[in-house]
Symmetry: C2
Subunit: 612 residues, 2 copies
């Protein structure tokens, strides 16, 4: 039944040869790789305004300063990542770049940063998508957490376990629907602003307090928050091999298109935020307020909200394309449990997909799905991995010294410097707002990566078989002790002893008794039965069963020669109905578990399946 | 560490020979056996008043009617139970009486009723004890549930797992402190009433609405509730063997003393409830209100509250002396899981004690520790087992036909009739108030008892070994197939194969491969190594590991002769640090579990303990 349910949800297993790739046109690639970046419009500008609209300060007028810095930064990052696409035509993100060019430690920092980044992308995008939905349908406000968890487990996890193809139109259509909707809304909004009688940006939005240190911190913090608008720009450079030939040329062109679009959407949204002087309102996103102001609360408003929700959920999905393969790489390099590197029955990295969903759910749950709190964690990881990727490229260009290498190295060095500064700005201005969590998380992850790696290396050493050493292929010489715990002779005892006799060893039937009368009774029965096996009774005055057995086996272990074997043969009932199991004490199971954990003996279970 | 903690909490194991008994004087016995009965004063009269003080009705004046009926009933029950003590000098409650005299079905009804009774005694007494405490210290009102659970698990369960002696003074002193306190309070209260200028019972308390059907139901329901005052009267008759000689004479005398005391306390409390016209108040018990009215809120008030709490907790403890031995009896008769019949390392029935605590906690939790709701469930079970015990005695006297048998039979027949009527009254008047739960619970329990019994009988049949049949003692003839799942040759594989070679069977090294390249690689390595074991590769295109192994074994099972054996030898890593375990996929464990559950093969685990 469980199997059938799984078939229904996940689909039939896929054969190895069903793994396939498909080349993407620029049009399709733009939609597929840019959902993460473009969806940032859903929260990026809002996160700037949230900081500046803090009460008691008149800092809203500084919005455009922070935003201009974000826009500039976007330019730098775009140019840098165009280079990444050129340098890594095989794809692979900052972990691969760093591993190749900067060594293990930096690669692990990049891996940890990416790990945080991907998980947070899921958490932030899902929460924001739900916020867009709740803004449109306020009645859903109490269902927010349920909607988040359903999207996470019921949609994203399931769809990815099925292993939907990245190239599916499911990803293409919502992205274009969103882009056209947003462009339309911005167009209407800007036209109204310029055609209207009111000032283009009302004076209220331009009000600025005297610039001082407090304002500086506020503006920097707003900028740090705004940097979240840039998450996802790296996506194309990771997917170069999926483009049609010439791959990197097409990839670079698509990167420019994506960044251009992102810049237009961000600018338009920011303009409208200022124009309508939009302030943070609980349970309603700023984008929803803009849409309502611009388009009224008709079908166009709902179109904007629904497509925003869809593209945000799609953005979460990009992490499912990113993190499980990264974890698989790390697992193959021995930095994560090996099973994260295995493809499941649908060819997807199922363990990684489930792990990602679980961690994202934990984050959403811990932060109550509050985007603002999650953003603080978000940007720092993203920019840290930007910086590492750029630095790695500088080393790469310097090593290759190909055409124009100096210019290219300069672009990346500049990018690394700028994004590095951004990391510092975020770390300082948002330290107590959650950035510290990431700064603790990354070293912790590195310690974990390294401990795992050490364990796997230790194990490989212990498992290594010197194939030329013939001691292992010679037949064993030692004696074989076979211990069978028994009680009153029953059919189970008889069959177990019979099996034990096939093992070609010295059989010891071991009986634990609480008192002398019982011992005598058992011995009498045994004599009458004559199973031709030595019966040893162990007296247990404290009415324990398992400890005396284990003590006996420990004593035997100390007594035996090193080349001797001990096997403990344990009969175990398997009942026909599940609840019947509750009627048997689990002595066999407990004994088995304890022996396997602690002793150096072979443990054989003879299942005895009850017929009724 | 776990062992040490257990030692600290529970104490060292006790030797079989440390089981001991001690004879009790009447003085001590009275205290030990009557805590359950006497503590009913803490809630019995209140439960009558709670029903009659229902708003919109003027029924408070009928209090004395309901109470008089309760008092009469107490007389009947006392006389009956004096007879039980005489008829069963060996102790044993209504389950034993019914089993001996009335057959299996009635005995099981009695067992189910007693089961409910004991569990509810714990739930009601603990909740009432905490109510007494909270009445005195209202600040504790939000800690009520925590106090209940702590008393249950931290005190009662722990103390009983340690196996405190029933004869300990811990039980004697609080009972007498309570009795003297109560007598003092009643004395002061009654003196004040008669010496004061006000009427002895104020007219407000005597007001009665015209008697009609609604009032009749109310009075009957009040009576049904009041019957809870009588719980615990049977305790002495269960403990006859613990009295000094002549046992039953002393037991009967003590029964009369106990009932006399109970009657005085109940009457006194009821008088004062009427005299002060006490009405139900949230979070304050009526006893607390009486104490405050009579004694003021000085040390005497706190003395009454604390001793009330103590005796109620002690009353809960009596169930710990009653239910685990009853479950042990039922387990020995095969009506409950056998392990409930075993004595733990401190000679107490530890499994039963933990089960009782868990069920009582569940009840308190479900009913939010609300005594009034629990009471509805309570009285019906108690009176049902009263009725069965009396009926059993009628059969007993009739069978024995000793001295005065006719008179004795008459007393018990009368008792059975009266308590039987009470069962009907409670069942009808309190049906929708919770009595239905008990009426569902008892048949359910009987079905469970019988199913368990059937399973044990089926098992005994399947396990029966015809000792004279020599087929079981003859040496096994069949072939022995030894299947060893392997992968790349490592030291673990080598050592596992070596062990397999001792087993005197045909060894099949089974390797699951995902693709042909890997298969060729493994076969090449194998050829180079030459372990002198046949390697069988199974191709798994869907990247599954466990299913192909199981399919292979299933096929082998179908192919083999009936007398042949199959053993699957599974190597399993045991890591040194617990978290290392997370780094290994649990293939060995899962394969082992599935094989044991589903297949007819011996499963041998070779633990391989990693050294670092």
């Amino acid at each position: 039944m469980f199997t059938e349910l799984r078939r229904l949800l996940i689909g039939r297993p896929l054969h190895n040869r069903e793994a396939a790739g498909e080349r993407l046109t620029k049009m399709k690639a733009l939609a597929i790789f840019s959902s993460d970046a473009l969806s940032s419009v859903g929260y990026g500008p809002e996160q700037i305004a949230v900081i500046l609209a803090v009460s008691g300060m008149v800092a809203y007028g500084y919005f455009s300063y922070a935003f201009a810095a974000v826009l500039l930064l976007l330019g730098v990052v775009t140019l840098s990542y165009a280079q990444v696409a050129r340098a890594n035509p095989g794809g692979g993100g900052s972990y691969s770049v760093a591993k190749k060019n900067l060594g293990e430690n930096t690669a692990l920092i990049a891996a940890a940063a990416l790990f945080a980044d991907y998980v947070l992308t899921v958490a932030v995008s899902v929460s924001s998508g739900t916020d867009a939905l709740v803004s449109a349908f306020p009645a859903l406000v109490h269902w927010r957490m349920s909607i988040n968890l359903f999207t996470l487990f019921g949609v994203l996890m399931l769809v990815n376990l099925r292993g939907i193809r990245e190239s599916s139109n499911v990803f293409v259509i919502p992205t274009y629907l969103f882009v056209f909707g947003m462009l339309g809304m911005i167009g209407v909004g800007v036209y109204n602003a310029f055609a209207g009688t009111e000032p283009i940006i009302p004076p209220a939005s331009m009000v600025k307090q005297q610039f001082d240190a407090a304002i500086l911190v506020l503006v920097l913090r707003a900028f740090a928050n705004g940097c979240s608008s840039m998450t996802g720009v790296e996506a194309i450079s990771n997917g170069v091999p999926m483009f049609k030939k010439p791959e990197y040329v097409n990839a670079i062109k698509t990167t420019y298109w994506m960044s251009g679009l992102l810049a237009i959407l961000l600018s338009g949204t920011s303009f409208l935020i200022l124009h309508y002087h939009i302030l943070p309102t609980p349970n309603v996103t700023m984008l929803s307020q803009i849409a309502e102001q611009t388009l009224g609360r008709g079908w166009m408003y709902y179109y904007i909200q629904i497509t925003t929700m869809l593209i945000l959920y799609l953005a979460a999905n990009t992490s499912y394309n990113g993190l499980p393969p990264l974890m698989s790489l790390l697992a193959q390099d021995g930095y994560l449990p090996r099973y994260l590197g295995l493809r499941g029955e649908r060819l997807s990295f199922s363990n990684g997909i489930m792990l990602l969903s679980a961690i994202a759910a934990l984050l959403i749950f811990t932060f109550h799905g509050n985007v603002e709190h999650l953003i603080s964690l978000y940007a720092i990881g993203v920019f840290l991995s930007f910086t590492i990727a750029q630095t790695g490229l500088v080393v790469h260009w310097n090593r290759e010294r190909g055409e124009n290498w100096l210019r290219r190295a300069f672009v990346n060095a500049f990018g690394a410097m700028v994004t590095g500064i951004v990391v510092l700005v975020i770390a300082v201005t948002k330290f107590s707002h959650g950035a510290w969590i990431v700064l603790v998380f990354i070293p912790t992850m590195i310690v974990i990566f390294k401990s795992i790696n050490r364990h796997y290396r230790d194990m490989a050493e212990q498992l290594h078989l010197p194939i030329e050493d013939e001691t292992y292929t010679q037949p064993p010489k030692g004696k074989h002790y076979v211990v069978v715990p028994v009680a009153t002779p029953t059919r189970v005892v008889a069959e177990t002893l019979r099996y034990a006799k096939t093992l070609n060893g010295e059989i010891i039937a071991l009986c634990v008794v609480n008192d002398k009368e019982f011992a005598e009774k058992i011995e009498a029965k045994w004599k009458q039965w004559k199973p031709q096996v030595k019966l040893v009774t162990v007296y247990s005055p404290y009415r324990l069963v398992i400890q005396p057995l284990i003590h006996f086996i420990e004593k035997l272990e100390r007594k035996k020669q090193p080349e001797d074997y001990i096997t403990v043969v344990i009969p175990e009932f398997e009942t026909r109905k599940w609840w019947h199991r509750l009627l048997h004490n689990q002595t066999g199971f407990i004994l088995r578990t304890l022996l396997i954990f602690n002793e150096n003996v072979a443990v054989t279970t003879i299942p005895y399946h009850l017929k009724k």
